[in-house]
Structure formats: C-alpha cells, structure tokens
Amino acid sequence: MSASLAPECNEVKERYDTCFLKWYSETYLKQKATTDECAPLFKQYEKCLSMALKTRGIDKMISEARDDNRENDAEHMRPKR
C-alpha cells in the first residue's frame, strides 16, 4: 500500500485503502455496487489529510488547480462514444 504524504494519516489511509480495494474489485468491477461502502472510512481519512494539507500549505494550490481545470475536465473526462 502506498504511503500518505502525512505519516500521521497512514493508519486511517491504510484502513480506507484496504476497504476501497476490496469494494472496488469485489463489488464495483462486478457491477454490483449500489453505494460507496467505504465512504465512512474515507471521511476519517479525509479529516486527517485535509488538516495535513492545510498545515503544509498545499490545500490552496490544490483547490486552485481543481478550479482551473473544471472546464478542462468537462471537456476531457467525458466518454467519446
């Protein structure tokens, strides 16, 4: 499992990643998914990570990049057929 940029989030991240990979391979890929079952674990991970991003000053950079690319995304992240 890949490491988090914030070592203090590694534990929650690993719990979430484990849940996600199980859900992705056993439910999502088999087209049996109805909800994202790992959403509660993601919330815990996100809470830890967003704090870490803020203290490192990366949060602004990310939100700016995501805003910049909203139009780009709409154009490129669409299926072509």
Binding site: S2, A3, F20, S25, I58, N72
Partner: protein, 191 residues
Amino acid sequence: MVKFYSSTDTYPYPFPAVTLAYFLRYPNPYSTHVLSTDTIARHYDPDTQRLTTVRLHLKRSKLPSAVLKLLPKSLLGASASGDTQAYILEKSVVDIKEGWMDTESRNLEWTGVLSVVERQEFRRPVTQAEEELKMWQGMEGAARRHGFINFGSGAKVEDTGETTEVKSTVTLHSHVGERWKQRRAASQAAG
C-alpha cells in the same frame, strides 16, 4: 510553446484488471521516486455507475542543471544535488458499465514555467469484436476436439483473449517562450 505527444496501445489484459492496476500502480520497485499517494476526493454515482477519483502524488524529481543555476536553492527547497519534490494531481473517471476509464495527471507547481498534462484513455474493445473473438475461440475449440488442430498443449495458461485499448497523450505547455515573444512584440511595436 506547446509540445504534444500521442501513442496508442493494446494491453493484453481485460479492462477491469487494467483499471485496478491503475489504482495500484504505486508503490512499485520501478517507481521509487514516488514518495506518497493520497486520495483527496472520491465519488461514486449509483445512477451511471461512474467512479471519480482525485489523487495527489508526491514525486522526487531532479531539476535540469540549467534551471538549478538560474534559481536560488532557497527558493526551490532543493538539496545540493538538485533533488526536489513535485506534487502531481491526478483525476480519473471509471465507467464500468460503458467500459471506459479516462485519466489526467498534471503538475501543481511551476505551471507558469512548464505545465505537463498526461492523459490516458482506456477502452474495453467493442462488443462485436469480443463476440467475434468468442466465435473464433469456439470454432478453434471444436476443431481441437475433432483433432484438426493438435499443436499447442493445454498446459499453457489459458488466455481469455480480452484486451484493453489505451491512448496516451502528453501535452507540454511552456509559458516562458510566450513571455519572451510578447516582450519582443511589445518592443518592436514601441520601436
């Protein structure tokens, strides 16, 4: 100034396996420069069965020596040898129902100097091709059973015959050249 690279490929693996591999590609022994990977957003839409993921990778990179000489190290946060860290933002959408995955990665810093956008489109081959393949495999199986084909032993790992089409593009966009051009145009207009 824009530079554009593009290539297409066919992976000999089924589409679901390819999408899983995309999420699992770090860490791996060939990419020790990738220091961390975090998922910063994830959304599953039950109506379309689309899964959207935004991830942040931290990679170790080496700056070109020309750039190192130009910029003070204090500004780069670089070590003496020119090792720096770079954040990469990656967005991906998987549609398991329609059989496609689109991904996009870009650098977050120094975009004024050079922005690199890498896109990949993964496609499950069209159903008709799959059906055709199945038909051929069925005929081959029948021919084997009747002894018309007897080469190739059954000991071989069974190939499902499923593939995934991949189109990769990389766009390099440098704003440095633009600024020089603008300056030159401005001075010409003034002079």
